[in-house]
Subunit: 333 residues, 2 copies
């Protein structure tokens, strides 16, 4: 295993120490239980927005804490759900009196622990709503998931819902907006290589030198099929086809197109993915009105990509364009 | 070779097509010769700032074209110098009447071609100055270089000099500032793995599964030594020691600390590198007043990192903080 780490068991805490040293103007890091909160949390009179999940997907979620996006993030061990006590403490830390929204990716452990934390928080008098993200069209009932997995859409949803909270939306309104976004967004990914979880010490799966996996999950969960490596244009066709026909997206739709690198894929290749995905949208009469390109929801050093489409309306676009100031995403400020 | 590409010979043009589709609000892409310019170029009354070099280091340089940074970037083939005609056309495209600065990383081909382009531009009546970046403390006279290589400092220099041009500095002033930054900044890198240049089709070098290379160049040029993999804290010690004693940096200095991912290294690991580098600075009485963490000057999918220190004064800090709006770096706008 080749990694820039000390001991596998110290990776997450040392990462959090690095984040605390790097971004004291934006976030505070709380240890034991571990969570990252906005430097100015709790923000009075604003709905608190929280997410979390296993580490190893950086910058998601900790890198999205700050003005205009998340109020807190709860990092679990690598590829392992955070615990209810992390979520409960984070919920209390960001409650500004208007309630707290939990954004939960659809993995069994995440869902169960966030539910428990929500119950505990309610018992302490904090109003909590949850939004489940399950945008991955690749498979149903994968490893660790009942139903569809929550993947790339999470980044886009956190940005838009975070902006809504910043703009003064109520808890009920941000939750409804989050559910609407989840209903209008779809993602599919693929991998060229596996990644290696530090405490496992060896690759999560083996993939022959001339093969790729279509529909892979962000923890290396099985996808739809393995096949010989193809040119990127054909790979993008294979990802876009199930996405487009899922909702379905149709001519006249306006979308945000998000091309994501899984951690080990150079930016140069992500632009090639974007180029073809954009072409396919245009060919189908779908207008790409905004885009995001880069490694925002990663799987450690996995080589691969995912494509996310979100059908947007004027309200969502305005919130997407609103200022955001976090370690991992910033514009307009 | 596992890459998300079509034909190796089309990678750069298709990347540029992707950039053109993604960022029409920020940049325009010119083909044949290939260069990327600010959407509003030439900016009247402003010094034009140009850089360039082989592709494969994205987001550098094309991702840094925009308000507050570069006016144009000339991408060569992967790891191959751009040609004088690219540089000449880019120079003409950004000349707003106050002259043009070329920022040149110290590689033989880049230096020679930028010199030729400068001569040609001068013959057409455009005033041109050049700043050479040679910040890599690892080795002298490496493959493709006489003297030291230009690496991570380039990103920081382009940001600060770009802000200076935006603030109305003259050509002579931006050139002097660039040379001063080069004299105060130092970098050293290391690799865990090689990368594969698309048209080569196989890794640039072999590195056994339990070894790393200290002092590697951004094209995989030989470094100082190969050795067994060490914990990240010890690796960072090995990088920081030659950097600190080179200028030397001393107690009381204020620095920008830039931790860079080489393309295949997860962000989680870059924060571990930052954590230790920050600790070493503090231990030596050196104050980290700003930082940058992420994959900004990459070597395709190489796993590894580089650390850059720049000793700053008040003027440089103010320019660092100034607004920048490019595909790869944005804040304050």
């Amino acid at each position: 295993m080749k990694k820039l780490i000390n001991k596998p068991e110290d990776v997450v805490v040392e990462e959090l120490q690095g984040i605390a040293l790097a971004h004291p103007d934006l976030v505070k890091v709380h240890f034991d239980p571990n969570y990252i909160v906005r430097a100015d949390a709790p923000v009075k009179g604003k709905v608190g927005i929280i997410s979390g999940g296993g580490s190893g997907h950086e910058p998601m979620h900790g890198g999205f804490v700050g003005k205009g996006m998340l109020d807190a993030a709860c990092p679990g061990a690598v590829f392992t759900s955070p615990t209810p006590d992390q979520m409960l403490e984070a919920t209390k830390a960001v409650d500004g009196g208007k309630g707290v929204l939990h954004i939960v990716k659809n993995y069994t452990g995440d869902v169960m622990n966030f539910e428990m934390a929500a119950d505990l928080a309610r018992a302490e008098g904090i109003e909590v709503e949850s939004v489940l993200v399950d945008d991955d069209v690749a498979v149903q009932d994968s490893l660790w998931t009942a139903g569809r997995r929550g993947v790339g859409l999470t980044v886009v949803l956190e940005k838009i819902v975070g902006a809504a909270a910043e703009a003064g939306y109520s808890l009920k309104e941000v939750a409804e907006l989050g559910r609407k976004i989840n209903s209008l967004g779809r993602t599919m990914g693929m991998a060229l290589t596996s990644c290696t979880v530090p405490h496992a010490g060896k690759p999560t799966f083996d993939l022959p030198e001339d093969e790729m996996e279509i529909g892979i999950g962000i923890h290396g969960e099985p996808g739809r099929k393995r096949m010989k490596l193809q040119p990127v244009d054909e790979i993008v066709e294979m990802l876009m086809e199930p996405i487009l026909k899922d909702i379905p997206y149709k001519a006249g739709d306006e979308v945000i197109l998000f091309v994501n690198g899984l951690g080990g894929t150079p930016l140069i290749e992500q632009y090639l993915v974007f180029r073809k995905a954009h072409e396919i949208c245009e060919k189908n009469g779908i207008k790409v009105v905004r885009n995001l390109i880069g490694p925002y929801i990663t799987s450690l050093e996995m080589a691969g990509t995912s494509i996310t489409l979100l059908k947007v309306d004027e309200e969502m676009l305005k919130l997407w364009d609103a200022p955001v100031l976090t370690p991992g995403l910033r514009w307009g400020i």
